[in-house]
């Protein structure tokens, strides 16, 4: 039966995370933005402690296999892990999208390990998140000359058969939280590299590089338009040697791009999570507008024909409509993920729509708020800057539109570039 009732456990989650967002994020939001390379340690420590207290180690990946068996008599609640993640990410981003990206524990890197790693790899790489200190991970895919084009990856991984080690060489850019994963904690990054440049996509594999690995160096921290609390770094790999087991997935290159495709599927899960982050920022902006209008005793009259509305009413009603529409796509995408339904189409739809909606809502909100919107005395202008990243990372709006179009049209990449 069709239902839009939020699962009860998530109502609780939402309330808890809202408290975090209000008390741990909003008060330091401006300060973190103005001091770009500072790290919100208080938030990080709190989140680390809280996550550990809940017995979990990662927001996005499954935990390493536990010894304890589950009680078979206990009634199983339907799977809502991705839906929970959405609630958390939306609310944390409502708090501060930059600080949210500093959340410790397994994120995109852990998700990749969780998706294609063996049980041994999961244990080896993921257990660090349960330690005393907060630990971070990161995903390194983009290269200076490749952009979002995975087949253009030029970082190489060669097996040294004498030592049975992988030797990586190349450069990665736009690595979110790379600094925190490699320098500020004993974390790891997942790096995409080619086993055979001639093989194109079929030769692409992901590798885990742990902090303090010789030959792996953070070379640059970007200064950005927004999400300044989060570090974005460049990484150079120079004869970086990794144990054989740091390769995720199979080392043999098959003719098919199956390995590549299964790796790509992790994006189907992570795209709606980026969407959720965009939705949180957009909601923050829209709520701010309502707040300021209420202060002036202006209320939005719902239900009027367009011919009788004010321009403000029209703009706000349109924004609400679009925000809700994007939210619903995202909920459906993650409900499908939880229920193991193939969601590649709607996952990309939710990403495109939410990125666009967040950009437009924050842009319009700044405009509507006039001189207040343009001032750094309020957070609105920051949300305008933060929101724009959602049109860009995890594939730009254009790349995701391509994915949507290919899915609708049943085209392979070669048929629609």
């Amino acid at each position: 039966m069709i239902s839009f009732e939020m699962p009860k456990p998530l109502v609780q989650t939402r309330r808890v995370v809202e408290t975090v967002a209000e008390n741990m994020m909003r008060p330091i939001s401006r300060e973190m933005d103005e001091n770009e390379h500072e790290i919100p340690w208080a938030y990080i420590q709190f989140m680390h402690t809280a996550t550990k207290a809940m017995g979990s180690s990662s927001m996005v990946a499954e935990d390493p296999p536990k010894e304890k068996k589950e009680d078979p008599k206990k009634k199983k609640y339907p799977p809502i892990n991705y839906q929970r993640l959405m609630v958390m990410v939306e609310m944390l981003s409502w708090g501060d999208a930059g600080i949210y990206l500093c959340t410790p524990g397994g994120m995109l890197g852990a998700a990749a390990v969780g998706a294609v790693g063996t049980p041994e790899q999961k244990k080896l790489f993921l257990k660090r998140f349960q330690g005393k200190e907060p630990v971070f991970d990161a995903m390194a895919m983009t290269e200076p000359e490749a952009g979002s084009d995975i087949s253009a990856i030029r970082t190489t991984a060669v097996l040294d058969e004498k030592t049975n080690e992988w030797v990586l060489n190349g450069e990665k850019i736009f690595v979110t939280a790379g600094q925190k994963a490699l320098i500020d904690s004993k974390g790891f990054i997942v790096v995409w590299a080619s086993l055979d440049l001639e093989a194109g996509r079929a030769g692409i594999r992901s590798f885990v590089i742990e902090a303090d690995t010789p030959g792996c160096k953070v070379t640059k921290i970007e200064e950005k338009l927004g999400i300044r609390a989060s570090d974005t770094v460049s990484i150079v790999l120079q004869d970086c040697r990794l144990p054989f087991e740091n390769l995720l997935g199979s080392p043999t290159i098959e003719k098919s791009t199956k390995g590549y495709k299964s790796a790509m599927e992790t994006f189907d899960a992570t795209r709606p999570i980026v969407a959720a982050s965009a939705l949180g920022v957009a909601r923050a902006a829209l709520e701010f507008v309502h707040e300021k209008l209420n202060e002036e005793d202006l209320t939005i009259r719902y239900g009027l024909p367009r011919q009788k509305m004010t321009n403000l009413e029209r703009e706000i009603i349109d924004m609400e409509t679009q925000l809700r529409a994007a939210w619903l796509l995202t909920v459906k995408a993650l409900w499908m993920a939880d229920n193991k339904k193939s969601n590649a189409l709607i996952a990309s739809m939710s990403k495109v729509k939410s990125g666009k909606v967040a950009t437009i809502i924050t842009q319009k909100a700044v405009e509507i708020m006039g001189p207040l919107g343009y001032s750094r005395d309020y957070l609105l202008e920051k949300w305008f800057r933060d929101a724009k990243i959602n049109d860009i990372f995890e594939g730009t709006g254009q790349i995701n539109l391509l994915v949507v179009a290919r899915n609708i049209l049943g085209y392979r990449g070669s048929q629609l570039r």
Partner: protein, 364 residues
């Protein structure tokens, strides 16, 4: 718990409506549009699907319980077949549902069994008024209480099947509030004008109706002298139109998508051009997003959520622009072929443009 899966009963209904939409409505739609006339039996066949009947409780001769969500699911698929026909099949809803929502027990007993009798009969409603800024919340048609009757005066437009209708549920402004009045077409002072010509939905017969001091007894006011709250009626309009807009858009989307995959230019399929592929992607996204808006609002109505009215309004608001964008782009993707009446997309665009003006023409 979220879920996006219809119940088995809903799925059966969806399947039945889809067969009707694809096998009956779609083949008939163009000629009906050109002739401004439905072929015999078409509307009756849609009526026999029993969508309204299944919304009326057994005590009034129906066989089910009302669900806005079920109505939305059916309305989308039927409008995917053809919008004019959907309005026609569902015209009795305009009369019966307000009585079901808000009518007195007597009114329910008197009218509901009559409406849902075996054959489709044009019980209808008069809501729209011929002003550019027509507002269902602030009608120009006036009702005044005089002694033990109401006097109704004003002009209505786009009243479906008014000429054949036995009864017209007429909305008027009573002391600033919109209230419904159950009026027989033969009442003195009611005059039906000539059939109207419109941009789209040609086949659906629409009439202007003038009310000149029409005298109505108190008990013919919806829910009698006590009156009723218009909110649930408005929300029903809005989710119905939102769902139908999604249906029309889905039809245009699929047609344009298939055309673009079929047709070649410059040595490749039209759909392989990024500019066209991106249009198709945007259309797909907006349709799915607006479908969910309509579903959610209907679900809220069924659950009695306080914010149902606002969400029905948002769904309708989104749908107005979505269906215009999608049908316009469909014409654009077909290019010159989109502009000729051999292909249905131009008709869907004409139908699609009307949604902003259709409040009062459809309920679920």
């Amino acid at each position: 718990m979220y879920s996006f899966t219809p119940t088995e009963e809903q799925q059966m209904l969806i399947d039945a409506v889809r067969r009707y939409a694809e096998q009956d409505l779609r083949p008939a739609a163009r000629e009906a549009d050109e002739k401004s006339e439905f072929p015999p039996g078409l509307i009756e066949k849609g009526w026999e699907l029993g969508i309204l009947q299944a919304s009326i409780p057994e005590e009034f001769d129906g066989f089910g319980d009302y669900s806005a969500l079920t109505g939305v699911l059916a309305a989308e698929i039927m409008a995917y077949g053809d919008l004019s026909s959907t309005f026609a099949v569902m015209t009795p809803n305009l009369f019966a549902l307000p009585i079901l929502f808000s009518g007195s027990e007597d009114q329910k007993k008197e009218y509901l069994p009559a409406v849902i009798a075996a054959e489709w009969k044009p019980f209808t409603a008069a809501m729209v008024e011929p002003y550019f800024n027509f507002d269902p919340g602030e009608l120009a048609t006036i009702a005044v209480l005089k002694g033990d009757s109401y006097l109704i005066s004003g002009e209505k437009t786009y009243v479906p099947f008014a000429q054949k209708a036995e009864m017209i549920l007429t909305y008027a402004n009573l002391d600033g509030e919109t209230q419904g009045f159950l009026i027989s077409r033969d009442t003195k002072g009611v005059s039906i004008g000539e059939r109207q010509k419109t941009l789209g939905i040609h086949a659906c017969p629409l009439y202007p109706v003038t009310f000149d001091k029409v005298k109505i007894p108190l008990n013919q006011r919806l829910n009698g002298a006590e009156g009723h709250d218009q909110k649930s009626i408005l929300a029903s309009y809005q989710v119905a139109l939102a769902a139908m807009a999604v249906g029309v858009a889905q039809a245009a989307f699929e047609y344009a998508r298939d055309y673009a995959k079929e047709r070649e230019v410059f040595g490749v399929k039209v759909a392989q051009k990024q500019a066209i592929a991106f249009m198709i992607a945007e259309m797909g996204i907006e349709i799915e997003a607006n479908r969910l808006l309509a579903w959610e609002a209907a679900w809220m109505i069924d659950e009695g959520k306080e914010e149902a009215g606002r969400h029905a309004y948002l769904a309708y608001n989104g749908a107005i622009d979505m269906v215009m964008m999608v049908t316009d782009q469909a014409v654009q993707i077909l290019g010159g072929h989109g502009y000729i009446r051999e292909h249905p997309v131009e008709m869907w665009m004409r139908n699609g443009r009307g949604f902003a003006a259709f409040t009062g023409l459809a309920m679920v």
